[in-house]
């Protein structure tokens, strides 16, 4: 732990938020998002469901007076739904001035992944939304780096904009 800390320190000494990813686990797969999008990480809270929303939008939470819509990453990725537990966290991200909470199974760590360790994702024949921006290699593991902007589709943005 202290090594990665030193690496982080080194990296952080170098530059700002670039190449720093917050890794989380969804369905036993490790995903990462850039830290610059991440506002906060909070534990599971009461979700008030809102009707007329897509499946993966579970509802809204009240975070210190702020209403944040939350989205289940599992459902977003068409993975089977899992009941929320203690370790289930909500990563609050800020995309285009839109605050959205991502419900993930668990949060791992903040990790530094240099660009050299990031590979392009495989070509999926235009299926899906190309959530995965790249594939980051950390040691023996592989972390799927997500594109937050793509995480939210257009009509969602519209909806959120409207709400």
């Amino acid at each position: 732990m202290s090594e990665s800390f030193r690496e982080d320190m080194a990296l952080m000494e170098e530059d700002s938020q670039k190449d720093k990813y917050l890794t989380f686990i969804v369905d036993e797969e490790c995903f990462g998002i850039e830290i610059r999008y991440v506002t906060e990480i909070i534990g599971m809270q009461k979700i008030t469901s809102v009707p007329e929303m897509p499946d993966f939008v579970r509802g809204i939470v009240n975070l210190r007076g702020k209403i944040i819509p939350v989205m289940d990453v599992r459902l977003r990725f068409n993975k089977p739904f899992r009941e929320y537990m203690e370790r289930t966290c909500i990563i609050v991200i800020d995309v285009h001035d839109l605050t959205v909470g991502l419900i993930v199974d668990s949060v791992a760590e903040v990790i530094d992944i240099p660009s050299s360790d990031v590979a392009a994702p495989p070509d999926l024949a235009n299926r899906g939304n190309r959530f995965v921006k790249g594939i980051g290699k950390v040691g023996a593991d592989v972390k799927l780096l997500l594109d937050c902007e793509k995480l939210l589709t257009d009509h969602e943005v519209e909806q959120l904009l409207n709400s």
């Binding site: 800390f5 952080m12 938020q17 720093k20 830290i35 906060e40 990480i41 534990g43 966290c89």
Partner: protein, 572 residues
């Protein structure tokens, strides 16, 4: 004569006797008739001649008496006397008249009647004269009387007398003639009677002989047949000649001889059967006695085996009792172990509870670590956002994260340990449960074993009882076998006796020669006996359906030849 022959013997005898008595009766009647006739004749003779002669004689005597009295009258002077004499004369005259009338009653022929009338005339003439004389005498004229008497009366008297004498002679000769005639008649009748007697005697004798022969001949024949049968020759032919008692006796004899034939035949067959049966029995006895000996030896072996089994059973019972005690002890131990196990389980449960509590606390710690991590992450995010300014913060955040990580690790490790401990406790519990189950099952098994053992003990006891009973039974069997042996010996003896008796029977039966038409003797029956046995069984089943006699005869190759002669005629 056939109808006579067929009369019953009593009828025959009675009719013969009746005939004989009739003959005798006839003879008697004839004799009686003759006697009666002779008697009548003689009575006639007597009356006509004897009595009449007597009458005549009396008349003559009286006549002479009267003459005497007349003479007396004439000789007498006494009037009284004369009257008396006259009365006497008159009385006597009456008497003479009576006698003469009597005599007259017996006259039969004309000539005699004429003569008698002459006599009576003469008597009348005399009487008239005499009366005159008497009158003269009575009136005292004896002299005239005497004169009259001497002349007329005397002549008349003598004439009367002569007539009387003539009559007398006539009568006498006639009487003599008649008597001679009667004697001749009597002689002839005697002769005829003698002849008749002789004839009748002869007839009776012939009749008697005939009838007796009619009776005795067939009887003798029957006697001869009976003797023949008695001597053992059953091949007799009985002739039936009549339908009287003798004929029926002959029929009965014939039937008897037939039945005897049949019976003897059957007895012969049966005797052969008995002989063969006795032999079979004898063989059987031998084999059975062998079997009995084998039985006895088997019984010995059995007894030995039974004793072995008995001792083993006792041992079994003992061993099972021991096992029972041991099982009981084991059960007690198992129960003890079970109890200990239960206590251990409860202790382990308490451990579990404590672990759970620890776990809860660890969870809290983990929660704290998690939150701290999140906090640190947030801090890192803030630090990253802060960029340059947030480096120190980033460091702090990193340290906090490290601490959180360490806490989390520690909590995790502790959790792992606790979980491990819990798992181990669970395992231990499981094992203890299993052990408890095992012990319980041991207890159950032991209980079952105990039960089984007690069953075994009971069964062993019963076995022992059973074996002792078997022993008794075997002893009884042994006794029975001995008895059987003895009985078999007796049976063998008896069968030998039976054989001897059968032989005797056969000998006795062979004294009889059966009817000659039977083909095959008794010896061939030995070969035929199975068929015969079958036949007799069949016979006893079809009791009345088939006349057994003919079937038996047919089976033994016996064919009764039906003699088509007169003797057999009436039989069918």
């Amino acid at each position: 004569m056939k109808w006579f022959k067929n009369m019953r013997i009593s009828a025959k005898l009675i009719s013969s006797f009746i005939l004989v008595s009739l003959i005798a009766g006839i003879m008697g009647t004839v004799g009686i008739y003759n006697m009666w006739k002779v008697d009548k004749e003689y009575k006639g003779l007597y009356e006509d001649y004897g009595v009449s002669l007597g009458d005549l004689g009396s008349a003559g005597i009286d006549f002479n008496r009267n003459r005497y009295r007349l003479a007396n009258m004439l000789l007498n002077d006494d009037q009284a006397e004369k009257e008396r004499l006259a009365n006497e004369i008159r009385d006597i005259e009456n008497q003479i008249s009576l006698n003469l009338e009597e005599f007259g009653g017996t006259i039969r022929s004309e000539e005699n009647r004429r003569k008698f009338q002459e006599l009576q005339q003469k008597f009348e003439m005399f009487k008239t004269s005499r009366d005159r004389v008497m009158d003269l005498a009575l009136s005292g004229r004896n002299g005239q009387a005497i004169e009259l008497l001497n002349t007329e009366t005397a002549v008349l008297a003598s004439a009367a007398n002569d007539a009387l004498m003539e009559m007398f002679d006539l009568r006498k000769t006639n009487g003599g003639k008649l008597s001679r005639q009667l004697s001749e008649q009597t002689n002839s009748s005697m002769i005829s009677m003698v002849v008749t007697v002789i004839v009748m005697v002869v007839v009776s004798i012939i009749l008697g002989v005939l009838v007796s022969r009619m009776i005795s001949k067939p009887v003798n024949k029957l006697v001869a047949s009976a003797n023949q049968i008695a001597d053992g020759d059953l091949n007799v032919i009985v002739e039936v000649e009549s339908r009287d008692e003798v004929g029926q006796l002959a029929l009965a004899f014939r039937k008897m001889s037939d039945n005897l034939n049949e019976i003897m035949g059957n007895i012969q067959i049966a005797a052969d059967q008995v002989a063969s049966g006795a032999k079979q029995i004898s063989d059987l006895s031998v084999s059975m006695s062998q079997g009995a000996t084998e039985q006895a030896s088997s019984v010995e072996q059995l007894t030995a085996s039974i004793e072995e089994i008995d001792s083993q059973t006792r041992q079994n019972a003992q061993t099972s009792n021991e096992a029972n005690e041991i099982a009981e002890a084991a059960k007690q131990n198992a129960l003890l172990g079970n109890n200990q196990m239960k206590e251990m389980l409860s202790a382990m449960d308490e451990i579990n509870d404590a672990s759970q509590n620890i776990s809860k606390i660890i969870k809290v710690i983990d929660e704290i670590a998690f939150q701290t991590n999140i906090l640190a992450l947030n801090a890192a995010v803030e630090a990253a956002r802060a960029g340059q300014h947030g480096k120190g913060f980033a460091v702090v955040a990193e340290e906090v994260r490290n601490l959180a990580a360490r806490s989390a690790n520690a909590a995790r490790e502790t959790t792992e340990l606790i979980e491990g401990s819990i798992r181990k406790v669970e395992e231990g519990t499981k094992i203890a449960q299993e052990t408890a189950n095992a012990l319980q099952s041991i207890v159950d098994d032991v209980a079952r074993v105990s039960e089984l053992i007690s069953n075994i003990a009971t069964a062993s006891n019963e076995q022992a009882i059973g074996i002792s009973q078997i022993n008794q039974g075997i002893m009884q069997v042994s006794q029975v076998v001995q008895t059987t042996s003895a009985n078999l010996e007796e049976g063998a003896t008896t069968s030998e006796e039976l054989s001897a008796q059968a032989n005797l029977l056969q000998e006795q039966v062979n004294r009889f020669q059966l009817r000659k038409t039977k083909t095959g003797s008794g010896s061939s029956l030995d070969e035929l006996s199975p068929e015969l046995m079958e036949l007799f069984e069949k016979m006893s089943r079809n009791k009345g359906n088939v006349p057994p006699v003919s079937e038996a005869k047919a089976a033994a190759a016996q064919q009764t030849k039906i003699d088509l002669n007169d003797y057999e005629f009436g039989k069918y």
